[in-house]
């Protein structure tokens, strides 16, 4: 049994750190199929890593191992963990970066603390657990090893708290969670936050956008739509909403409903 292993890091691609991890993976599980999920997570940005993982992980086949190294606490007392959820495995630091994708609501959810050094590299650096702890553990799981081998069970893992949507009957308020490559402003508002209420307008910075679109209409200067991951997004078709509106992560967004 061999599996897909995805890699998510904040290492960038300028150096050879990701390659060292892949070397360890292929040495220990030669048939693993490696897929870069994202290496452009902003340095030490746990939330950005968690969002990218949660966006792509559901599309991978059962048995996939997701290796995640956004790890500002490397070398400190933070725990290292592996989680089984949604028929996938997730390996990384216990700082919340896994918690959106490996949510504990999944049937047969199980988490372990990585304590069994038999599954690590023989020499473990203090600064690169991605290579020395997480990669060999991911290789173990990718080649059919048991999660129970890796350490004791945990009842819970660190949860990432996303900002909450607030508001009431007439309007709700959220914030920009992420800005993608196209300058689209991705908010924390999901379809369920609307219920049955139709949108009158969406306000982001200086812009007031009437109604909801279902695509990037090139005739519109700005649109609001639910994107392919289910988040409300403000976009400038053919341009960058982030640049047009001078908005970024954390900017407030308001949705008013038609009465």
């Amino acid at each position: 049994v061999t599996s897909v292993v995805t890699l998510t890091t904040d290492f960038g691609v300028e150096d050879a750190y990701v390659a060292a991890m892949k070397g360890v993976l292929l040495t220990r599980c030669p048939e693993a199929r490696l897929v870069d999920l994202c290496h452009a997570v902003p340095p030490q940005d746990i939330r950005a890593g968690a969002l990218r993982l949660a966006a792509a992980a559901p599309y991978f086949p059962a048995g996939t191992v997701h290796l995640v190294v956004v790890d500002p606490g490397v070398g400190s007392a933070r725990r290292a963990i592996a989680v089984s959820a949604h028929s996938h495995f997730f390996v990384g630091p216990d700082n919340g970066v896994l918690s959106l994708a490996a949510d504990s609501g999944s049937p047969a959810w199980r988490a372990v603390e990585l304590t069994n050094r038999a599954y690590w590299q023989p020499i473990v650096s203090t600064t690169f657990h991605g290579r020395d702890v997480f990669a060999p553990v991911a290789a173990h799981l990718a080649c059919g090893g048991q999660i129970d081998d890796l350490g004791p069970w945990l009842d819970e893992i660190e949860q990432l708290q996303l900002p909450r949507v607030t508001g009431g009957v007439d309007e709700i308020r959220g914030v920009v969670l992420d800005v993608d490559r196209f300058g689209n402003l991705v908010t924390n508002i999901r379809s369920a936050d609307l219920g049955e209420r139709p949108i009158r307008d969406v306000t982001a910075g200086s812009a007031q956008i009437m109604g909801l679109s279902d695509r990037y209409d090139p005739a519109a200067r700005l649109v609001a739509l639910f994107n392919s991951d289910g988040w409300l997004e403000v976009a400038a078709p053919g341009g960058s909403a982030a640049r047009h509106l001078r908005l970024g992560v954390g900017a407030p967004v308001r949705v008013r409903f038609a009465v």
Copy 2:
């Protein structure tokens, strides 16, 4: 029968969009061999995508599936297509991005419109056909599925028009089509445009380059040569011709012949 699948997009690597497509591909065709062709196509730049695809595709083995998502018209009425040409498959929007590589001069050329939803994801977003339409269709072809399954035949597909080389007996004129990572100015002039006429000089911006080189001669400030893809290129060995000459895409280039 499993195949190589290449991916060409304007998604960049900052987000997890490419990974979601790879997840769909590996879920539907687990043995597909995924290769990134290029994800740095400038946003919505159909010509840049078409040129990159045409430069690399010929080097891939027979049966390769090229999945291309440079798709400014996603969600509009633009067609989605698959093409069989040169013993390869090409899958993407019908906006010209496939037309240089999948040229209809190929023997056994065949194109279909993607209309059969049985080969798409069960839920199709309006904004991410790369994941929901093109990736599952590419997986079908990579795992040996028939192109005829996907929809009705097309007689022709949208053609990308490259700027033409003009001129006469003494000189020809072209333009810069692309600037590569090294700052080399790649023009639309090919060897066939010269015929038997030897080059006297090449003029680009303020520079007049005498004769033709066959390599990046480090002793020369600027050289003109036919690059490894067969295009006339102006280069500054060890530096950037684009920066030295302050020229970019669209800049005129003139070739004069020795009489």
Copy 3:
């Protein structure tokens, strides 16, 4: 017998050059497992390429073929070589870029000059030996071909000279070799340069750092530590030492010992 092939280039990912090489590799050795080691080597920076290769190569399985194209002399008289060392193969130009990883101290070290055109592409460009010479040679080795097929033996290859650590009993002096994505300043000082002498302080630019850390302590503004590759490094936990100290490659670093 099929192998992992890693690719290290200064091509960046903006163009399709890397993909063309992968196409050649997969056409000639369909089962080769391709891994990007690094494509962000600064253009023509042989030392940066050599350091990245040396950092990651040791983690790959026996039989791995490392294909390296940082090749400012392409088209000139510089030799093309393949080296067998440390149970790996290394293929690239003979300009020193292979010499740190494929060091001649390895048992069973062997080098050949690539002269046998039977293992190259049928048409060889003057400007892209990565695609036309090195990729097909790497494919030959990855699919179990013999290194002796490729050309005559060489007694030695070009050696890259790293700057030396100087100094004496009380202190040693080195330089910054590389700056990684996090702004960490990686020096040419290794643990062996210290012997048994404990560090009193490390001076880099305007900063004097007391003692040695074993991790990126978030409470410290600056730390000095031996990184996961064994080099002395100056880091700003949670920030960029390069930016804080306005230092880059070549900056002097001094280590004083406690008496």
